[in-house]
């Protein structure tokens, strides 16, 4: 009896210990952290900058591998590239988003990494100090990417050797498609509520909210359970704050802080929208997909999200759906909006860096622009003739102004690795009235200080 009890205890212990370990087992692959290959210091980064870049790729058959998560646009862009260069074969490996960031770091540090990998500068920045991805400076100069890609979209992908401060140092990835955060509206609800024009100022927008509310609709659908809540805050901050202050903070410039007046005003505006009922009380329990569904089925008049939702919303609402950037306090044209890019980096271990770089260069071509636009993104080459109408035209027009003004800024969760876990609960606190503006902004800055301080 004593012995079986002991055995039971032991097996219970092991089984329970496993529960805790299970979630981590995935990231601790068999090589373990001690034996991580290619884990060098930043020294190698300097070497790669002296690599010779060529803008021709030869006629020899070449096979590259490309790891990615976002489709569209990746597969279509790969197909477009190999059509232009039939001697190149690109084998693609797709991983669902939730697993991608976790597995790609290990894949890139293995002995046979993919030649090209979709790159997220926030979540994957350790690849830079580890020397696992190439500095693209030689190709940037050789191809003249400064002129062919929007400047702001390259800034986000540039960082110092330690990958702690962005918008400075070497370029590590090239953007393949762009997104922009804005406000979608349901034109037939606005008609019904007697809102005759697309709101041009924040005050107009709030008036429109009140009118659609009186007409029996929800003003805004907000996915407060996930990122929808802080996207509203972000859009407000974009128009209420100074773009340089915001950019310094997100890029991790020394001494930057989010505890400023503009951020407080954005937070209080959001709190007021909750109080007025513009943001539904159930927002905290609403997932982004649910908020989008509510908007698409005509329960609400407005939805703050990115252009990635455009094709789905167009399919549901047809000509009723339109898009504008969050309006500012004055009626001036808004030139600042948060956006991200589907970007690609090149492995430091690739045997064909020039071919891989040719793929990145292709992303800024007019042919690629058409593919990017058709797959629901904003094109990298903004001058391409896209002949769009309706919703796509709305988005393209808004986006064009932002790019011209160099006004694309990263999302705030970019500022530090743990930031998203401060933003979502913080905004939930504002929505439920349990967190003060100061406490919210303080928690953001705390995460920022921990990472950059």
């Amino acid at each position: 009896m004593g012995k079986t009890r002991f055995n039971r205890r032991v097996s219970a212990f092991v089984a329970i210990a496993t529960l805790g370990a299970m979630s981590l087992a995935a990231c601790a692959d068999t090589s373990g952290p001690g034996e991580t290959t290619g884990g060098s210091t930043g020294d190698e980064v300097g070497d790669s900058a002296e690599r010779e870049a060529s803008t021709t790729i030869g006629d020899e058959p070449v096979t590259l591998t490309l790891a990615y998560t976002d489709d569209p646009p990746t597969q279509a862009l790969v197909d477009g590239f190999t059509e232009v260069h039939p001697q190149v074969t690109i084998e693609t490996q797709q991983t669902p988003f939730s697993d991608y960031v976790k597995t790609i770091k290990l894949a890139m540090s293995s002995d046979s990494p993919p030649d090209i990998a979709q790159y997220n500068p926030g979540a994957m920045n350790t690849l830079v100090p580890a020397g696992l991805i190439l500095s693209l400076e030689p190709w940037k100069d050789a191809y003249g990417w400064e002129g062919s890609f929007p400047q702001a979209s390259l800034e986000v992908l540039s960082s110092d050797d330690a990958a702690e401060q962005f918008g400075t140092g070497d370029l590590y990835a090239a953007p393949g498609a762009l997104s922009v955060l804005g406000v979608f509206y349901n034109a037939s609800i606005l008609d019904e509520a007697g809102v005759s024009e697309v709101p041009a100022t924040l005050a107009d927008l709030e008036e429109a909210f009140a009118q659609v509310q009186d007409a029996g609709f929800d003003a805004l659908s907000v996915g407060g359970l996930q990122v929808g809540g802080f996207h509203v805050w972000n859009a407000l901050l974009n128009v209420l704050g100074d773009v340089h202050d915001y950019r310094d903070w997100v890029y991790g410039s020394p001494g930057a802080s989010i505890e400023n007046e503009a951020a407080a005003e954005a937070t209080e505006t959001l709190a007021r929208w909750v109080e007025e009922g513009f943001i539904p009380s159930g927002a905290n329990a609403t997932a982004d997909s649910d908020a989008q569904a509510d908007f698409a089925n005509g329960s609400s008049a407005f939805l703050v999200t990115g252009n990635w939702a455009a094709s789905a919303l167009e399919a549901e609402l047809g000509e009723d759906v339109g898009f504008f950037l969050m309006p500012g306090p004055t009626g001036d044209t808004v030139n600042v909006a948060s956006g991200a890019s589907v970007a690609y980096a090149i492995s430091a271990k690739t045997e064909h860096p020039d071919v891989a770089a040719a793929f990145l260069d292709y992303l800024s071509s007019p042919e690629a622009a058409r593919i990017q636009f058709e797959t629901g993104f904003m094109p990298v080459e903004t001058e391409a003739d896209l002949s769009a109408d309706g919703l796509r035209a709305d988005i393209a027009t808004s986006f064009g102004g932002v790019v011209e003004n160099n006004g694309i800024v990263p999302f705030p969760d970019f500022a530090s690795p743990g930031m998203i876990d401060k933003l979502t609960p913080g905004i939930q606190g504002i929505i439920s009235g349990s967190t003060t503006t100061d406490a919210f902004l303080g928690s953001l800055q705390e995460s920022w200080d921990e990472h950059h301080g």
Binding site: A17, S23, G34
Partner: protein, 320 residues
């Protein structure tokens, strides 16, 4: 037979070792010594042990090792000493998360055991037809993947969900809300999903335990004039004592180590009101890339689970 069911691998191991042993003892061949028999027993066990060692024991030990390292998943790991542990113990979020998971024990463990007992009392010895039906219906939540369960409940609980529609139907418009988004009620709403999941499991365990009870005991009790309540109290309840312990252990582990359900329903929200330790482990490891601290937290969680489960087993032990 009071095996901890979470150790299904080990119980099957014990089972096969026992069978192997008894089989050879019955057909004891001359010249086959005890040692050879034991070796053959291990041979049977080997596949299970190998799988268990590679997929359970090894990762657990890795976690322990990682908890003393600073590692982001890419760069070479460096020794961290106890830094990871001091960091997580300084974070008030940990204590809130543990407190929340203790509240969840009430809903994942305590209430389901009570409901399971009630169902057992109602079903045992009385329901002759349709028993399979009841079993299937009540056990169904256990069979469904928790992620699907979570998403379904998120909709049931939502602003315009079925729950609120029902409340409006009976005139309770005043209390409708997005339950999982309510600052004060989210944890309870979440806990009730756990209750729904776990009650059927408890009932199944208790029913199987109660069916082992000699019917003569019930007859004797009836002859002595015991009513239904007394029969339950003096015959059924002692008969399922071990099953209650098992149910308590499984459901408590489910409460303390809950992750998937919380992840898909509230993801810790609103404003951290439903954070649980496993969620913090996940965020540290996969959002912040701080695998050392995540492992340390996982180790702490494991210790807490062992402590609480040991306590349950201690108090539920046979009084001998």
């Amino acid at each position: 037979m009071a095996e901890v069911p979470a150790t299904s691998t080990s119980s099957s191991r014990a089972g096969s070792a026992r069978d192997g042993g008894s089989a050879s003892s019955r057909t004891r061949r001359p010249g086959l010594g005890g040692r050879a028999r034991r070796a053959r027993g291990w041979l049977y066990v080997l596949p299970a042990v190998a799988v268990y060692a590679v997929f359970a024991i090894w990762p657990a030990l890795s976690t322990l090792r990682l908890s003393f390292l600073t590692w982001d998943g890419v760069l070479p790991a460096t020794s961290a000493g106890m830094d990871n542990y001091t960091r997580i113990f300084r974070d008030p979020a940990l204590y809130e998360a543990i407190l929340n998971s203790l509240v969840l024990i009430v809903f994942f463990s305590f209430i389901p055991v009570l409901i399971g007992l009630l169902m057992t009392a109602l079903l045992i010895g009385r329901v002759r037809t349709g028993m399979t039906f009841f079993r299937v219906v009540f056990f169904l939540p256990q069979v469904l993947p928790l992620v699907a369960v979570g998403i379904t409940w998120r909709w049931l609980y939502s602003d315009r969900g079925v729950l609120n529609q029902l409340l409006e139907l009976v005139g309770l418009d005043g209390i409708t809300r997005a339950w999982l988004g309510d600052y004060h009620l989210a944890l309870i709403a979440l806990g009730l999903i756990g209750t729904w999941c776990m009650s059927g499991l408890c009932m199944m365990l208790f029913l199987s335990g109660a069916q082992k009870i000699d019917t003569a005991l019930y007859e004797a009790a009836t002859l002595d004039g015991a009513g239904a309540v007394q029969q339950f109290r003096h015959v059924t309840l002692p008969g399922v004592r071990k099953e209650i312990t098992i149910a308590g252990v499984i459901t408590t582990i489910a409460a303390l180590a809950s992750f998937d359900l919380v992840f898909v329903t509230t993801n810790g929200g609103p404003a951290g009101q439903t954070n649980v330790p496993a969620l913090l482990v996940y965020r540290l490891a996969f959002n912040e890339g701080n695998i050392g601290s995540a492992s340390a937290l996982a180790v702490v969680l494991t210790v807490i689970v062992i402590a609480i489960v040991s306590a349950i087993r201690f108090f539920a032990r046979e009084g001998k």
